[in-house]
């Protein structure tokens, strides 16, 4: 029984947590690709930026959370999302719009976004330093240990408050995105621009406004994902670097330009990561005595060592591109 609880903690809960972060990032990447037709490499840094905004606000108002019994970082999240969304629109106006107006090729846009990445990373290090920071410097991080009603279960299921908030927030964002894309005028216009930009233009859809709405959504989701991840672990300036590849893998796995695909892709990549670094030897240990003699049970039977977990999204990416190049949900071919 303890083995199963260990599996739930290490694979299911961790996978769902990191998968939620990937999903929220991938929705933004996929929306931007759908509307503006370029891979936005600075997306990871918009996440870091959002998390830093939330952290700065937490430092400024450390008591804010106690009033309502939630972590201060989470209470500050809406403000951080708004700030990041505004920054995203400004980045677009300053760097990407002039290029679009000159009808540059998508590769030039991608290069520009890498430039924005480097700039944001520099700025974040300049103002935020390079050390890891913890949101819970003034308050306690609630960790729930749930005992299961089995006699032989001595271990407990462990879930942290930030993880619960992350799950709830992801659920909320998925429904919000679904509502926006299917029920609101601008959401439908976003789908129209993604489907057929030329026809959207001749239909009288104001592409500039749709673009702004897209950046607002992508920017605020990025800030939310970055903040919620940092709440659970820690905030480091290189947060984005470790997130970027899995997020792009998630977007491509789901089918680029397909928001629902991005959500599924996020969890596929998240669970694949935790499954491949899980130590499967744990499940074999109870049967140690009945194993054949030539089989010597090693202490670690993980598919991939933890340090190499970044290879997992790479592997998924390659498999998907060979097996189903347009992604699980038939997105656009890049």
């Amino acid at each position: 029984m303890n083995e199963i609880i260990f599996f739930i903690n290490k694979v299911l809960i961790s996978g769902a947590a990191i998968g939620s972060v990937y999903a929220m990032g991938a929705i933004g990447v996929t929306l931007i690709f759908g509307i503006l037709r370029f891979a936005h490499f600075a997306h990871g840094d918009m996440m870091t930026l959002g998390a830093f905004f939330a952290f700065a606000l937490t430092v400024m108002f450390p008591q804010a959370g106690q009033a309502i019994g939630l972590p201060t970082g989470f209470v500050m999240l809406p403000v951080a999302m708004l700030l990041t969304a505004i920054i995203a629109v400004l980045l677009d106006k300053t760097f990407y719009l002039p290029l679009r107006n000159n009808n540059v090729s998508p590769v030039v846009m991608v290069m520009a976004s890498i430039g924005v990445t480097l700039m944001l990373q520099g700025l974040i290090r300049l103002f935020g330093g390079i050390e890891a920071r913890y949101f819970f410097f003034a308050e306690r991080k609630d960790i729930f240990r749930i005992a299961l009603p089995f006699e032989d279960a001595s271990r407990k299921i462990v879930i942290t408050e930030p993880q619960i908030l992350l799950f709830l927030f992801t659920l909320f964002s998925v429904f919000a995105i679904h509502y926006i894309l299917n029920k609101t005028k601008f959401g439908k216009a976003m789908r129209a621009v993604s489907d057929n930009p030329d026809l959207a233009r001749v239909s009288g859809i104001n592409i500039q406004k749709v673009t702004i709405v897209t950046w607002l959504i992508a920017g605020s989701l990025a800030a939310a994902a970055g903040t919620l991840l940092s709440l659970d672990v820690s905030l480091k300036p290189d947060l984005s670097f470790n997130l970027l590849l899995p997020i792009f893998a998630a977007a491509i796995v789901g089918g680029v330009g397909h928001p629902y695909g991005a959500i599924v892709g996020g969890y596929v990549v998240g669970f694949a990561e935790t499954l491949s670094i899980f130590n499967w030897a744990i499940f074999l240990r109870p049967f140690r005595d009945s194993l054949p003699e030539w089989f010597e049970l090693s202490s670690n039977l993980a598919l991939v060592p933890t340090e190499y977990k970044i290879t997992v999204p790479f592997f998924i990416l390659v498999v998907i591109l060979i097996w189903r190049p347009t992604g699980l949900f038939k997105g656009k071919v890049i």
Partner: protein, 235 residues
């Protein structure tokens, strides 16, 4: 009074040599105008120039006596123009009804009357309202495309080869619908390959050859003109 007026238009793609050379065209309110001519004559180019999609080198285009050559597409829709491209003219991943809603993006009032009106023109669309437009047949797609354009309540409807690739039976149906739309007060300007059938329903016909006006007259007069028949309509 003339609803749309094109004078001395020189236009083309990008900064390349212009395709249209000093083209003139005038259409009165409530008329059906048909642009015909051999392949490469610049028929679609003229239509796209009116809708601001091409580079205009010189000349003037007015709508309701106001110049429209520097307007963006969404401003033109606001002015009462609507354009149906020849290809890729529906949002394939979106339902029929969502396609219609997208045509009304500039409006913020209630759309249900306009949607019912479109279903009145094109009854087959009503039962397919929730189906993705990409799953429809060619003829039904053309109906969605025209319906989408009508949703902005245009005074001038520009149609680029609305019957391209359709069977003769469907072509008849589409022409019949175009006449019905026109009767409701919408001026129609279209490019057509099926020159005889199109000129038969046209108030005004414009024959373009190599980017220049070759013949301009009423539809009936052009059909009976021996020169037009010999050089263009194939006897």
């Amino acid at each position: 009074m003339s609803l749309v007026n094109v004078s001395n238009l020189v236009a083309g793609y990008g900064n390349n040599a212009p395709i249209l050379q000093n083209v003139d065209m005038t259409l009165q309110q409530g008329q059906i105008g048909v642009i015909v001519g051999p392949n490469g004559a610049g028929k679609s180019t003229l239509l796209k120039s009116i809708f601001g999609l091409l580079n205009i080198h010189s000349g003037e285009i007015t709508h309701n006596d106001k110049s429209i050559i520097h307007l963006r597409a969404d401003q033109l829709v606001q002015q009462g123009l609507a354009f149906v491209p020849q290809e890729f003219n529906v949002f394939e991943s979106m339902s029929v009804e969502e396609n219609l809603e997208m045509g009304a993006f500039i409006r913020s009032d209630d759309l249900s009357d306009s949607i019912d009106k479109v279903y009145g023109y094109f009854p087959p669309l009503k039962e397919k309202r929730n189906q993705p437009a990409g799953e429809l047949s060619g003829g039904q797609r053309q109906m969605v495309a025209m319906g989408r354009a009508l949703m902005s309540n245009p005074s001038l409807l520009l149609l680029d080869e609305p019957t391209a690739g359709l069977s003769p039976l469907f072509m008849e149906k589409i022409f019949e619908r175009i006449i019905a739309v026109n009767k409701s007060g919408v001026t129609v300007l279209m490019v057509e390959q099926h020159a005889r059938q199109a000129l038969a329903i046209a108030d005004m016909g414009f024959v373009l050859v190599t980017g220049q006006n070759a013949f301009t007259d009423t539809g009936q007069a052009l059909l009976q003109d021996d020169d037009v028949a010999r050089s263009f309509l194939g006897g």
